[in-house]
């Protein structure tokens, strides 16, 4: 009997499933309506669907899940009643936050608000204790006072508690003491220690990350335990149950229940991982992922097979400083609104009509012209074939309102106005792509643009021409790309210990000792998760900066124990990386170590997807018709061949202008471009020779 891997990515409207047959390498996909009130219902419905197809529950060998349960609890502020313990005298760290209003329009907003405190001062206790910048205890923890504080929180009915003491990343004794005291006084409380969540310098960012963890932990762990017990009831026995994290790896249910903050920005991560996996199979190592949905567009850069990582994430103005895939998001999607402002300028975005009422053409009462409407008017979208014909769009209404609201005031004809809306939204997305690529010193001509999401394949061709990106790859299943990514993710954990010291002054024994601790812990964690030694991969890094700089670069490091000559190598790598990132280096300036880092990977046997079957069908057989599409003033309206994606197979060639339709997206091949179908049935679009 074949074994099956199941992955599910829960979105706002649909939960996307991928079923992978380990024996044949074939995948099947399905979409199940999401159940926001009880998100696990949708997950169970999808698993049941697989069982209904004749798969025994015990033959599910692997289950991986992208969930927004933690994210939503945070965004909707529906987390736990959360307490906070801080060093005595330092309540201000959380309340003052960054002290700024944010930049751009927020600077001028007299009615600006900070994000609401997730742990109120009423549930905040100050603990007499203090550690200095060397990690020495200036004042040892007052156990009696701490015990009293814990009792007060218990009495107030707090469910979850964050602990963040100054310099705990250098000396965790006091935070660990708190853990002991909780075990004695208040064992029911969930506890998040900053030393365990993120032992990293910069107290507010560590605190913010720890508080978010505490805030969503009860919600997440209850979700995961309910989900697990329901799966067991269905007869699913596999111990391999995973959750997607913001760093692009997965973690076990247990790990995610303890550290849910690591999942909060995981939404777009699956798509990036799927893109990497898709490209790796066809020998592409440098790519930019381009995921355009209904309201936003996410872009990320992968260089030589490695995604860019950031520790400066934020969600609704709240910092999360855990390492995560550096995904740049802009408000640009199919629902983005185009309108004329008070003085006659054409503005596209940032607001969106969302899914409800949605674009004018959805005919659900939307009165604002959106990008999707513009794509209907130009002929890119077929009003009768949207979602495979499941939804009819009202083209006449889109034309009428676009004419009235945009074209007339600007004295443009209807098609030019529609095309203008698309051009402007494209430029905004192109700027996001530049921000992750050329702004960081990468030559965009070396990259492939991987387009997915409902809108990505529609806009990517033209954007690639604008940006000078030589090729676009549209994967076979662009609508379930995130779920596919779950199939390709390894288990990934991050470890960090801050240690601010000059590279020339550091005590190598000390550093090697710290690294040894991190490595031991990383290995133990993965062994706990049933990984054998040969499935464990450890990658060490050092965060370095020129003395006095404010941002560190994470530089790959030889496997510890480090030798003196390794430090010279690190110095050179840092200079080179700094030049790449910011255009200059300072080889004579002293360099400082800020943090030691470790990534540990528990390697999941790669899902071997089968290449596309070739039946010998001719490309003409995939052609379903022809329609008139407006390709901008340069080309005008052209007769355009329409193809069905399901009928395209390896080796097929298509000349632009052309359109390829499939259930969840439409791929546009511009008049200047041609496309071919590769061995895994990806569409590759290039400029004509």
């Amino acid at each position: 009997m074949s074994k099956f891997r199941v992955t599910v990515d829960t979105g706002g409207t649909f939960s996307d499933f991928v079923f992978f047959n380990e024996e044949t390498g074939e995948i099947a996909i399905t979409k199940v309506p999401s159940t926001p009130k009880e998100p696990f219902e949708a997950v169970m419905n999808g698993v049941k669907e697989l069982i209904d197809r004749g798969v025994a529950a015990k033959d599910i060998s692997f289950f991986s899940h992208g969930t927004t349960v933690g994210t939503n609890a945070l965004l909707e502020e529906k987390g736990a009643k959360t307490g906070l313990l801080v060093t005595e005298g330092f309540r201000g760290i959380y309340e003052v936050m960054e002290q700024t209003r944010g930049y751009g329009p927020a600077t001028y907003d007299l009615f600006f608000e900070k994000p609401r405190l997730l742990a109120l001062p009423y549930y905040t206790e100050e603990i007499p204790e203090r550690v200095d910048f060397r990690g020495n205890a200036l004042k040892s923890i007052d156990v009696v006072a701490a015990r009293e504080a814990i009792k007060r929180l218990k009495k107030k009915g707090v469910q979850s508690v964050a602990v963040c003491f100054l310099f705990s990343f250098l000396n965790p004794d006091h935070e660990l003491k708190i853990k002991e005291l909780f075990a004695e006084e208040f064992p029911q409380a969930r506890l998040s220690l900053s030393y365990e969540v993120l032992p990293q310098i910069r107290e507010f960012y560590r605190l913010s990350t720890t508080v978010i963890n505490a805030y969503i932990q009860p919600v997440m762990s209850s979700y995961l335990s309910r989900l697990e017990s329901r799966m067991r009831e269905l007869g699913v026995t596999t111990p391999k149950l995973y959750i997607m994290q913001s760093n692009g790896g997965v973690s076990t249910f247990k790990g995610s229940a303890e550290k849910p903050v690591a999942t909060v920005l995981s939404g777009p991560a699956g798509g990036v991982i799927a893109s990497m996996g898709t490209c790796e199979r066809v020998g592409i190592n440098d790519l930019i992922t381009f995921d355009m949905g209904g309201t936003s567009c996410d872009v990320a850069l992968i260089h030589q097979g490695n995604p860019v990582i950031t520790t400066q994430g934020k969600i609704s103005m709240r910092p999360i400083s855990l390492p995560m895939l550096d995904i740049h998001t802009v408000s640009a999607g199919g629902g983005t609104i185009a309108r004329i402002d008070a003085v006659g300028g054409l503005q596209v975005g940032p607001d969106s009509a969302g899914a409800d009422p949605g674009p004018v053409s959805y005919d659900r009462g939307g009165q604002e012209i959106t990008v999707t409407d513009a794509n209907i008017v130009t002929g890119v979208l077929d009003p009768d074939q949207f979602l495979g014909g499941r939804m009819k769009l009202n083209k006449a209404k889109a034309e009428r309102l676009l004419e009235e609201k945009i074209a007339k005031p600007l004295k443009l004809n209807l098609l030019e106005a529609a095309d203008g809306v698309i051009k402007i939204i494209n430029v905004k997305m192109e700027e996001a792509i530049k921000a992750v690529s050329s702004a960081r010193g990468y030559d965009i001509r070396d990259f492939t643009l991987v387009a997915f999401g409902g809108g990505g394949p529609m806009h990517a061709g033209r954007m690639a021409l604008d940006l000078g990106i030589p090729s676009v790859l549209v994967p076979l299943t662009p609508g379930v790309h995130s779920a596919l990514g779950l199939l390709m993710s390894d288990v990934k954990h991050d470890y960090v210990r801050s240690k601010l010291v000059g590279l020339d002054d550091l005590d190598l024994n000390d550093i090697n000792h710290l690294f040894a601790q991190l490595i031991d812990r990383a290995k133990a964690d993965l062994q706990d998760e049933d990984f054998r030694d040969d499935e464990i991969k450890i990658e060490p890094y050092l965060d370095l900066r020129y003395a006095g700089q404010g941002y560190e670069l994470t530089v790959p490091c030889p496997m510890p124990p480090l030798k003196p000559e390794d430090l010279k190598v690190m110095r050179q790598r840092f200079d080179t990386m700094h030049e790449q990132n910011s255009g200059h280096k300072a080889e004579t300036e002293p360099v400082e170590l800020v943090s030691l880092r470790l990534i540990s990977l528990g390697l999941v046997p790669q899902a071997k997807l089968s290449p596309g079957k070739v039946t010998g069908r001719k490309v003409e057989e995939a052609k379903t018709g022809e329609r008139k599409v407006f390709f901008g003033k340069e080309h005008g309206t052209l007769n355009t061949q329409i193809y069905t994606r399901d009928l395209l197979e390896t080796g097929h060639q298509i000349d632009g202008p052309a359109i390829v339709e499939q259930l969840d997206t439409t791929t546009v091949i511009q008049p200047e471009q041609e496309a071919s179908v590769d061995e895994y049935r990806n569409i590759i679009i290039r400029e004509k020779a």
């Binding site: 003052v96 009615f111 608000e113 109120l120 310098i201 203008g420 402007i424 700027e431 003395a547 910011s582």
Partner: protein
């Protein structure tokens, strides 16, 4: 010039926004000094060939006025045939350039397209020290700008891609932190070069004429938008007045800022002739800064998301009197300009609220910085610890003020304690909000905070640039004033001493302590009308004490079993008594 179609126009505007954003990211990422990297006190802009702002990424809105004045200084000093591709100019001169004060160094590099000079890529960043009598270069007793550090008129720092070693050496040896000054400056040139490259690419893609014509049209769009908003207000006159604590020399003499705004049609005149005479000490501001403050006001009132460019500046007419605090005669000192600007912005908000009586805002905390110059036992080197602090913002129509925030034109991040203690020889002993510091009101002012420090290792030279230690943040519409700021050495110990809000160069010895309290915001509306449940929550969270709740809000709060509860009956009684007396 040819008209650019509306689509291309928006495309170019989006490209420009991308360019200045990239410049800014580059500057923040490569900044050396805490002031750039942790506080992010720096801005970037693209200017046209005339030095008019085309696009900017502004962290500190005042920098908006600085760029054109710096460009004007360069255009005055250099003829076109002396300007080459690969050059970069610098200036920090408040009179010959447009820098607010000497520590703010501007870099402007001319952009060339196919051999033709078409604009400037510019940025402005605060330097931790540029020499002068005190660390941080802002001496509160300065009587002329010669006492405010090294001043650089508009000069060429880079000539055809060759950085002037001579100039770098001069700058370096005049600063207490030469590596930071030179390191930041290199980062600034790097950011400007990035802007140049991206600008050239834009011209390549859309054509020079199209790009240049777009600038004019973008100016016109912004101008039209601002004028349309102004025209929608009733014609009339508004007046506003605020005071700065003192100029640092005449300590008992508050400095008056006064504005009279005349609104007629789509035109505003800002008459500042009622401001005080120029001050002996460094409280003066240059007219370019006044213009920037007016731009800030209009952006707040018209649309925080306004595309800010020269079109906005064109709508502003100011009338200033030479010899006044807002138009001082050379070489009057200007180093502590920011408290004056805060008082000016508050006067502007007050005056404009009489013309456009929309939502209102009470006074905020203004802004302050501490500067500690010392020598670290860790590195053996000199350092300048420079930190910028806010406090409470004023209560607003329908909303409380924000606690622990920068307000109005100030917007710097707070530096992490763990970074400060790792790099400098001070220890932070306390950092918390101050209960009852927010002015009582139907909408309470935000709270100020206290920072307490201990000096370690070696003697350190301490300076404070603050305000609102004697003039309180005003409450409005019946709201109470916010609590004033306060700075004291060695509180509760021998040698205790309260210092004025502008104070320079006091030597603190190892083991000595200073405590700085920042002001809370003014309240808005009658505090007796504040919802008692909100008062209860304030007491629970420690923002308001029980006695204050009773006295200022007439809300009775009792303690029961470790929690606070609202005594509704007594509250009703307290409030009806209060009504009787009115």
């Amino acid at each position: 010039m040819a008209t650019v179609d509306p689509v291309t126009l928006q495309v170019i505007q989006a490209r420009l926004a991308g360019i200045v954003q990239e410049m800014q990211n580059s500057l923040f990422r490569t900044g050396y000094s805490t002031i750039i990297r942790e506080s992010q006190d720096a801005s970037c802009a693209i200017l046209n060939r005339q030095g008019e702002v085309v696009a900017q990424h502004v962290v500190l809105p005042l920098h908006m006025g600085a760029f054109p004045a710096c460009a004007a200084g360069i255009l005055k000093s250099y003829s076109a045939d002396e300007v080459h591709e690969g050059d970069a100019f610098i200036t920090n001169h408040p009179y010959l350039g447009g820098s607010p004060h000497a520590p703010d160094m501007a870099v402007l590099s001319p952009i060339f397209y196919r051999g033709e000079w078409v604009g400037f890529a510019a940025n402005l960043a605060h330097k931790s020290d540029i020499g002068g009598p005190v660390p941080g270069s802002c001496w509160s007793q300065a009587r002329e700008i010669y006492q405010e550090g090294l001043h650089v008129p508009p000069v060429k720092y880079v000539h055809k891609y060759q950085t002037s070693k001579d100039l770098e050496a001069v700058l370096g040896c005049n600063s207490r932190t030469p590596e930071l000054v030179v390191g930041d400056l290199r980062g600034q040139v790097g950011a400007a070069r990035l802007g140049e490259r991206r600008f050239q690419e834009m011209m390549e893609r859309y054509g020079k004429e199209t790009v240049l014509s777009s600038f004019e049209q973008l100016f016109a769009l912004t101008e039209a938008k601002v004028r349309a908003e102004i025209a929608s207000w009733p014609d009339g006159v508004g007046e506003g007045e605020r005071f700065v604590d003192s100029d640092g020399i005449e300590l008992d003499k508050p400095v008056r800022l006064h504005v009279r705004i005349e609104k007629k049609g789509d035109h505003l005149l800002f008459d500042l002739t009622g401001c005080a005479d120029q001050t002996k000490g460094p409280a003066n501001i240059r007219p370019t800064i006044v213009r920037a403050a007016c731009c800030y006001l209009l952006t707040c009132l018209v649309d925080p998301a306004l595309a800010i460019n020269y079109g906005l500046a064109k709508t502003i007419d100011i009338k200033v009197r030479e010899g006044s605090v807002v138009h001082p005669r050379f070489p009057a000192p200007v180093n502590t300009y920011n408290p004056t600007v805060h008082a000016l912005v508050e006067s502007l908000l007050e005056a404009s609220s009489q013309i456009t009586p929309r939502k209102k805002v009470g006074d905020g905390c203004s802004s302050r910085s501490i500067i500690i110059g010392g020598r670290s036992n860790k590195t053996g080197k000199g350092y300048v610890q420079y930190e910028i602090f806010g406090g409470g913002s004023g209560g607003r129509s329908g909303k409380d003020g924000v606690s622990g925030t920068n307000v109005n034109q100030s917007n710097a991040k707070i530096a992490p304690i763990e970074i400060i203690e790792s790099e400098f020889s001070t220890r932070v002993r306390r950092f918390e909000l101050i209960a009852d510091s927010g002015g009582a009101g139907a909408f309470r002012g935000g709270l100020g905070f206290v920072r307490e420090y201990e000096v370690l290792d070696n003697d350190a030279r301490f300076s404070l640039r603050s305000t609102k230690h004697s003039v309180a943040p005003k409450g409005i519409d019946g709201g109470m004033d916010g609590k004033t700021g306060h700075c004291v050495f060695n509180p509760g110990k021998p040698g205790e001493r309260v210092i004025p809000s502008r104070f320079s160069d006091h030597v603190l010895h190892p083991g000595e302590v200073f405590s700085l309290e920042t002001p809370g915001g003014g309240g808005l509306g009658n505090p007796f009308e504040r919802d008692p449940v909100r008062v209860l929550n304030d007491v629970r969270n420690g923002y308001v004490t029980q006695p204050k709740a009773r006295e200022a809000y007439r809300v009775a709060i009792a303690q029961s079993d470790g929690d606070f509860v609202l005594d509704e009956a007594q509250t009703r009684q307290l409030r009806s008594n209060a009504e009787d007396r009115e």
